[in-house]
Amino acid sequence: MLIETNTTNVPDARGYYGDFGGRYVPETLIPALDELIAAYNEAMADAAFQNRLAHLHATYTGRPTPISYAARLSEQLGGAQIYLKREDLAHTGAHKINNALGQALLAQRMGKQRIVAETGAGQHGVASATASALLGLECIVYMGSVDMARQQPNVFRMKLLGAEVRPVESGSKTLKDAINEAIRDWVTNVRTTFYLLGSALGPHPYPMMVRDFQSVIGTEARRQIIAMAGKLPDACIACVGGGSNAIGMFHAFRNDASVELIGVEAGGCGINSHQHASRFADPSVGRMGVLHGARSFVMQTPDGQIADTHSISAGLDYASVGPEHAYLRQTERAFYTSATDEEALSALQSLAQTEGIIPALESAHAVAEAIKRAPTMPKDAVLLVNLSGRGDKDLDTVMKALKL
């Protein structure tokens, strides 16, 4: 299956999704972004490139990933029927591999032997290390030292895969700081290095490129859900940190007006606590700004310093959000809500006990929204939840939170 590119009016030639996006980076990187745009467009127009990616997905990633009907959970809730797109079953345990393989193939095509990546929860770092090992590329992953402490198993996985994990001690020592450090490395080694950015954020063309590589999720899911449920879903639900799994799911449904698109941000300790990562929900901190190369909603202080965020889920614990999500929200094509740490933990347990699936804490935020909505909907309604990753990496966090 070939990935379709340029099938929407966004982004425009300057990388804008309405008011959002752009390329807010030091001048040193502009030529690298120009080179990347050209190489990306050329690769996607080349059937050989696309066939190679599709072949790897079929023989290595484990695509198509299935959709599971969550029969017991749906019955327990007594409303809409819940279906799960099982990205947790993709190789490395999350959707991140879809993008990492695509970009690593592109790096190889561009003759760049050195990969740098950032990681929060470690899933993108593991996916990048995996793709690099598969293609014989050098891989350096920047990770905040706070995240390294809370995601130890993934640090070890990256090292086993031959990647070098560099701890980041600046700022809040989490994902945002890891991105800063990856960009500093890229600026320094720009001629030889490919920056393998893990979410639908950053300067153009990254949000578009990551969306396109992740769009395989929605393309498969749309076909699968029609076959299984006999119709399009009433709503698609996905968690939104940077927003790559959500945009990958939403993209295939963008022209299906009857399908509601719902993004779930990290509500942390609750919106009123201001300890969260809900860029859209709390106008006292989430405002239009510029972070990591794109204009979007950014959590910030009144003086424009980037605010500290909080989520139990490292993968959603980020101060900005992909520009296309800001655009989908502004144009009212998608709706954004949030789930708290507590709701995500509770959803994780419900899914584990009714369906035998332990979701990642990130994905549990999407499940939490389905649990809220399903009882309010008729029994013939269909909710499609993107289960973006599996929960093994979070066992330690969950055990501590549940005091087990």
């Binding site: 390329r23 807010y24 502009i30 030529p31 800063n180 001629r191 910030q300 424009g304 310093q305």
Partner: protein, 268 residues
């Protein structure tokens, strides 16, 4: 009083003309407001002004300075902990003018705090405080129309960057939109002292000079010794020294002042 002196773009242009008459480059130290403390940063800049530097790049701290190396990252983090806001930085410029500092001052800040302040309001308030222009490292010309238009209207200099990776098309574009000078990044990388200047620097500078006409070129990133300053003084219209001065300032204002004085001496 500053009213007797021209300010803004004209002041920046006058600085380069004076340096040119003296057959040397203009020396513009970078220093962030708020480090080691707000009051001390003002004292340090005032002390540097006494050594005969030609202009200043006044740093506005940001939580995520992705073009900066470890020294400026740490100093600006301290500055933020000291409560340094955009408003505090503009107030520092006002105080420096009141104390008689006459050299051109370029406000150097990352974009997000300036957007939060308000783009147009920032240019107006910077001008009122006595600043002469603006440098925004994460804003290439394509994204800088609002700043460029406001600066043009208010007679403020709006600086853009070139880097060793810049293509002939980029060089032509930046030469067209920058006012005051072009900030030429000496190397691919972040700010910070380097023991050697990059070997391909001369070739890179020649490539740029041939394409920008009379627009002054100011070299920055990595310049850290009086010897390096002397070397680049013959090649460009101005140069910026930052990290090494900030590091010196951690040993007190006198250390920073002495280093600046040695650089001023070296290029005479």
């Amino acid at each position: 009083m500053q009213q007797a002196h021209v300010r803004g773009l004209s002041a920046v242009q006058a600085m380069f003309e004076a340096a040119k008459r003296a057959e040397r480059a203009a020396f513009m130290p970078y220093f962030p407001i708020g480090y080691p403390t707000i009051a001390e940063s003002i004292e340090i800049i005032a002390a540097l002004a006494q050594t005969g530097v030609d202009g200043f790049e006044i740093g506005i701290p940001f939580s995520d300075p992705l073009a900066d190396g470890p020294v400026i990252q740490a100093a600006t983090q301290t500055a933020l902990e000291n409560g340094t806001t955009v408003r505090v930085c503009l107030d520092a410029v006002r105080q420096l003018r009141e104390r008689g500092v006459q050299q051109p001052m370029m406000m150097m800040g990352y974009l997000n705090p300036l957007i939060a302040y308000g783009v147009e309001q920032f240019v107006l308030d910077a001008k009122a405080a006595g600043a002469d222009g603006l440098i925004v490292p994460d804003m290439p010309p394509e994204e800088g129309a609002e700043f460029a238009e406001t600066c043009a209207r208010e007679g403020m200099a709006m600086v853009f960057f070139l880097a060793p990776t810049s293509s002939p098309e980029r060089i032509a574009l930046v030469a067209q939109v920058a006012t005051g000078f072009i900030y030429v990044v000496s190397l691919t990388g972040v700010t910070g002292a380097r023991s050697e200047l990059p070997p391909d620097l001369t070739a890179f500078l020649e490539r740029v000079k041939g394409a920008v006409g009379n627009m002054p070129l100011v070299l920055g990133f990595g310049i850290s010794t009086p010897e390096q300053a002397k070397m680049v003084s013959a090649q460009v219209d101005g140069f910026i020294v930052g990290s090494v001065l900030v590091k010196a300032a951690s040993n007190g204002a006198a250390a920073a002042r002495d280093l600046a004085a040695r650089i001023v001496e070296a290029i005479r």
